[in-house]
C-alpha cells in the first residue's frame, strides 16, 4: 500500500514537470490533447545538461566518499510505466573533484519501481549555480541529459526524473 502511494506521488510529480516541459517545448503538440490524453510526455534534454559528460561511467556503489544523495525515477513516455534496470549516469562538481574529472562520475541502475538513488560527494556551486548532471544514454530509449539545480548549496540531496521515449 505504501509503495502504491509513493508511486502515485512520484508519478504526479514527474507528470507535472513533464507536462510543463511538454507545454514549453512542444507548444503545437500540446494543443492536440487526443493523442496524449492520458499520456506522459517525454522529458526533454535540458540546456547545458550534457556539459562535461564522459560516456560510459562505471556503475558504482557510491561516487567517492559520499554524503550527498542524487535520486529520481525513470519511466516510459505515454503510459508512465516504471522502467527497471535502466542505467543513469551522474556527475557534478563536488568537494572531491571538478565536473570533468573521472572521479566525479558514476552510474547506477533503476530498481523494479524505476527508482534510482546514488550517494556521491557534496555538490558545490560551479559556474554560478549548485547543480548536478544526469544522463540516460543507453540506446534503447532516446538519450536525455538533465541538469537539476539545487535551491541552496547547503542542500544534501537532489532529484531528477526521466520520462523516456523509444529511440
Amino acid at each position: 500500500m505504501t509503495t502504491v502511494l509513493l508511486n502515485r506521488r512520484n508519478l504526479l510529480a514527474a507528470g507535472g514537470s513533464a507536462l510543463a516541459t511538454g507545454i514549453l517545448a512542444t507548444g503545437v503538440s500540446g494543443l492536440l490533447p487526443a493523442a496524449r490524453a492520458d499520456g506522459l510526455a517525454p522529458t526533454e534534454t535540458m540546456s547545458g545538461g550534457a556539459n562535461n559528460y564522459r560516456k560510459g561511467a562505471a556503475i558504482v556503489e557510491r561516487i567517492g566518499k559520499g554524503g550527498f544523495w542524487m535520486s529520481g525515477t525513470v519511466r516510459r513516455a505515454g503510459d508512465g510505466a516504471p522502467l527497471a534496470s535502466q542505467r543513469i549516469q551522474i556527475w557534478a562538481h563536488t568537494t572531491e573533484g571538478q565536473e570533468h574529472e573521472p572521479q566525479s562520475h558514476g552510474a547506477t541502475l533503476t530498481d523494479k519501481d524505476g527508482k534510482f538513488r546514488l550517494e556521491m560527494p557534496q555538490i558545490i556551486p560551479i559556474f554560478g549555480q549548485p547543480h548536478g548532471h544526469l544522463a540516460y544514454d543507453s540506446g534503447e530509449f532516446k538519450t536525455v541529459f538533465l541538469r537539476p539545480v539545487m535551491r541552496s548549496p547547503k542542500e544534501t540531496s537532489l532529484e531528477a526524473h526521466f520520462v523516456l521515449q523509444p529511440a
Binding site: G48, N52, Q98, G128, P153
Partner: protein, 210 residues
C-alpha cells in the same frame, strides 16, 4: 577647503567598496574546491565589478585630488584594465569548463546570469575598441558620447544583474552594496552631466578634443 577635507573620506569609501568584497570572497569556503585558474577567473570578475564603480566616479569628477584631465585619463586606463579583467575572467572560465563557457557566449546557457554578463562583455569590448580608435576614426566628442553612454548603461546594468544572480564566492551583502553604489554613481553622473542633453559643453571638452 570643504572639498579637500572630504577628500580622504571618498577615497576610503571607494577603497572599502572595492576592497571589502574582494577580501570577503577571498575567505569563501568554495575556493577550497576550485582550481587556481577558476579562482583567478572568479577574482578577475570581482575586480572588473570594482573597476565598473570607479568609472562613473572618475568621469563625474567626484574623486577629489584628480583634475578633470587626469580623471578622464584614469577613466581611459581603467576602461582598458576592465576589458583586460573581462578577458581573464572569460578565458579562465573557458579553460575551466569549455562547454559551459561556449553555452554562455552563444546565449544558450541554462544559467540566467550568463546573458547579462556576455552582453556587458560585448559592450565593454566595443567601448574599448572605439575608445582606442577614436582619433583614427575621427569620432567627434558628441558622436562618441552618443555611442558610449548607452553602452555604459548596458555595461552597468549587465554587470550588476550578472553578479547579483551568481551563487559563487562573493559574499552577499558586500556584493549587494557594491552593486548599489555602482548604480547610484552611474545615475548621479548621468544626471550631473545631463547626458540626455544634445548640446552641452562637457567639462574641459576643449582639452579632450585638443
Amino acid at each position: 577647503m570643504k572639498g579637500w577635507r572630504s577628500a580622504p573620506l571618498i577615497w576610503v569609501a571607494l577603497a572599502l567598496a572595492i576592497g571589502v568584497p574582494i577580501a570577503a570572497a577571498a575567505t569563501s569556503e568554495q575556493l577550497a574546491w576550485r582550481g587556481p585558474l577558476y579562482i583567478l577567473a572568479g577574482f578577475a570578475g570581482i575586480v572588473a565589478l570594482g573597476l565598473v564603480l570607479a568609472q562613473p566616479l572618475l568621469i563625474g569628477g567626484y574623486l577629489p585630488g584628480l583634475s578633470a584631465y587626469r580623471g578622464r585619463r584614469a577613466h581611459r586606463w581603467i576602461g582598458g584594465a576592465l576589458a583586460l579583467a573581462v578577458v581573464i575572467h572569460v578565458a579562465g572560465l573557458w579553460i575551466t569548463s569549455p562547454p559551459d563557457m561556449i553555452d554562455a557566449l552563444t546565449y544558450t546557457s541554462p544559467t540566467p546570469f550568463s546573458p547579462f554578463g556576455v552582453t556587458a562583455m560585448w559592450a565593454i569590448f566595443i567601448v574599448a575598441v572605439l575608445a582606442a580608435l577614436r582619433r583614427r576614426l575621427g569620432l567627434r566628442l558628441r558622436t562618441w558620447r552618443i555611442v558610449h553612454i548607452p553602452l555604459a548603461i548596458v555595461i552597468v546594468a549587465g554587470s550588476v544583474a550578472h553578479c547579483l544572480l551568481i551563487e559563487g564566492t562573493m559574499e552577499t551583502i558586500s556584493k549587494a552594496v557594491l552593486c548599489v553604489l555602482i548604480l547610484v554613481a552611474t545615475v548621479k553622473v548621468m544626471i550631473d552631466l545631463q547626458v540626455w542633453r544634445k548640446r552641452r559643453t562637457l567639462r574641459g571638452e576643449s582639452v579632450a578634443r585638443q
